[in-house]
């Protein structure tokens, strides 16, 4: 009999919770704590952000799914972890504050035998002055609501262009340390397609503003592809796509400020620029959600359990090393918090040991480096891995060997799909394996058989298939567990 608590109901936490329902016995309990009442298939927010899909197509309420699967759902945010419990009870505990309309603000302490921290990112719009839709001057596609607002803003720009007035549209990263460049790449690809469909592409200047030092970096240091008997790069592949679609890239940029109609940024050469815009979709940097940690006596151990970024430390090598000394083995395997056999951090919640792309600073000392992506497929795999370990340890004892899934072994896919219907779409699709390059196994850091970039209608079908499959899986419909993460 054990109580498992999952913090967060995104891809990682939700996957972990669902797998636990089929892995654990009847006497065990699973509790999911999430401040949001709905689940969001975030990759499809891109389509919502250009008006191709409705918000309702990418979100659904969590409570009915959890009720059906026997999961206790608490709509609340976690504020503190007590891994050794408190003076009343040595079992681990989490302090939560309810966020539902019925019990908003109510504080509660819940106990756990096993804990999965899958709290996802804190969207740090505040890191850049004027960034974001809430009080700022740019839009975002990070949440379904943000994406709806982005689609409206894009529509307004298109209407203006239909009246014959040119517009400048900027898509990219709102800070030098952003991650998820793949999402911005997908969005710029979709905006270009939407403008063409509206018949106004010739009146639009479309700029891709990114913190990547080279095109096709995507926060993973770029990729090498094998194509037609030659090795080529994701940089050349992306450059070709952008040239074909007349997207103007600005590289190595740290956005300093967004004012109404103007984005100010610094580039790696130390120069400062002002870019006037009519529409700007700029993603925020991510940080860990604000979580404190206390030992049994109430002493603050936040700095021990969490990295300065707010992400939880796990079984990774966090020692300071030069970029040339970083290896694939620095990356975590089991996602276990150091010193604990029952606390995991998965998905965006775990602290990466370092970037994957080479860290760079401008000549003024401003850090302009993509952070490592760990969303989508890797997040789901980590969640399932933690669930497998927990189930084993509950059934066979806490010393049971942990399951592992290093990002230096697992792959990922990024599909920028545009269009509607099965005949008219297109997509730029990338797959890579592993996400973290391993030069001890592969000369190019990655397996060339699994690392590819291609453009075509089939990618559009794949993206549509993934959309429906993953929402089916997340709703825990019949056979859901047979659909891979």
């Amino acid at each position: 009999m054990a109580d498992v608590v999952v913090l967060g109901a995104g891809v990682s936490g939700h996957t972990a919770a669902l797998h636990l329902t089929r892995l654990l016995g009847k006497g065990d309990t699973i509790t999911v704590v999430s401040p949001n009442a709905s689940w969001n298939w975030i990759p499809s927010n891109i389509w919502v952000g250009v008006g191709r899909m409705t918000k309702e197509s990418v979100v659904f309420p969590l409570a009915p799914v959890y009720k059906r699967k026997g999961i206790r759902f608490l709509q609340a945010k976690a504020v503190a972890i007590r891994p050794e419990g408190d003076l009343d009870d040595p079992r681990g505990a989490v302090d939560i504050v309810h966020t539902s309309s019925e019990s908003r603000g109510t504080e509660q302490r819940i106990r756990f035998d096993y804990l999965i921290n899958a709290t996802g990112p804190q969207l740090k719009f505040g890191a850049t002055e004027g960034l974001g839709p809430d009080g700022g001057h740019s839009v975002s596609v990070c949440t379904a609501d943000h994406a709806v607002e982005a689609a409206r803003a894009l529509d307004r720009s298109i209407d203006i262009m239909r009246s014959g007035r040119p517009q400048t549209l900027v898509v990219g990263m709102g800070h030098g340390t952003c991650t998820c460049e793949g999402a911005a790449f997908e969005y710029v690809f979709n905006v270009d397609h939407t403008l063409r469909e509206a018949g106004v592409r010739d009146l639009a200047r479309l700029i891709y503003l990114t913190n990547e030092a080279s095109l096709g970096d995507f926060g993973v240091g770029g990729m090498t592809f094998e194509d037609g008997g030659f090795q080529t790069t994701s940089e050349l592949w992306t450059a070709s796509l952008f040239r074909e679609r007349n997207v103007e890239p600005i590289l190595g940029a740290h956005v300093e400020r967004v004012e109404p109609g103007v984005v100010s940024f610094e580039t790696l050469d130390g120069t400062h620029h002002r870019l006037p815009f009519d529409f700007a979709m700029l993603l925020p940097p991510f940080g860990g959600v604000p979580l404190k940690a206390f030992d049994r006596s109430g002493t603050d151990i936040t700095d021990t359990m969490f990295a300065p970024s707010g992400f939880m430390k796990v079984d990774a090598d966090y020692s300071a090393k030069d970029f040339d000394d970083w290896t694939a083995s620095d990356w975590p395997e089991a996602y276990l918090a150091p010193g604990y056999s029952n606390i995991f951090a998965v998905g965006i919640a775990f602290a990466p040991p370092h970037q994957i792309s080479r860290p760079l600073k401008s000549v003024n000392g401003t850090i302009i480096t993509p952070s490592p992506p760990r969303t989508g497929m890797p997040s789901g795999i980590m969640g399932k891995t933690a669930a497998l370990t927990i189930a084993d340890r509950i059934k066979h004892g806490p010393s049971r060997k942990a399951h592992t899934a290093s990002m230096a072994r697992m792959g990922a896919a990024c599909v920028a799909s545009v269009g509607s219907g099965l005949r008219n779409g297109s997509a730029a699709s990338m797959t890579m394996v592993p996400v973290v390059p391993d030069y001890s196994r592969f000369a190019t850091g990655r397996d060339l058989k699994g690392t590819k970039g291609e453009v075509g209608l089939s990618g559009h079908w794949a993206k549509l298939m993934l959309h429906y499959l993953f929402i089916y899986k997340a709703k825990a419909r019949f056979g859901w567990h047979l659909i891979p993460e």
Partner: protein, 62 residues
């Protein structure tokens, strides 16, 4: 860890912003554009993509 030296690093001189010059990037031929839309070709690519995804999934679990 290793990193590549960017190929497309030159900024366009005819531009008001530090936009990278992509004039040396290859453009797809008419045949390539046709293949990207060809149903038989894309059906094969769809199967290949799914097999690749399956391989990624299997390689990620230990």
């Amino acid at each position: 860890m290793k990193s590549n030296v960017p190929t497309f690093a030159t900024v366009r001189q005819d531009c008001d912003q530090p936009v990278v010059d992509l004039s040396a990037a290859p453009l797809p031929t008419a045949q390539t554009l046709k293949m990207r839309r060809s149903l038989p070709t894309q059906l094969l690519r769809f199967v290949a993509f799914n097999l690749r995804i399956l391989r990624l999934v299997i390689s990620g679990h230990h």
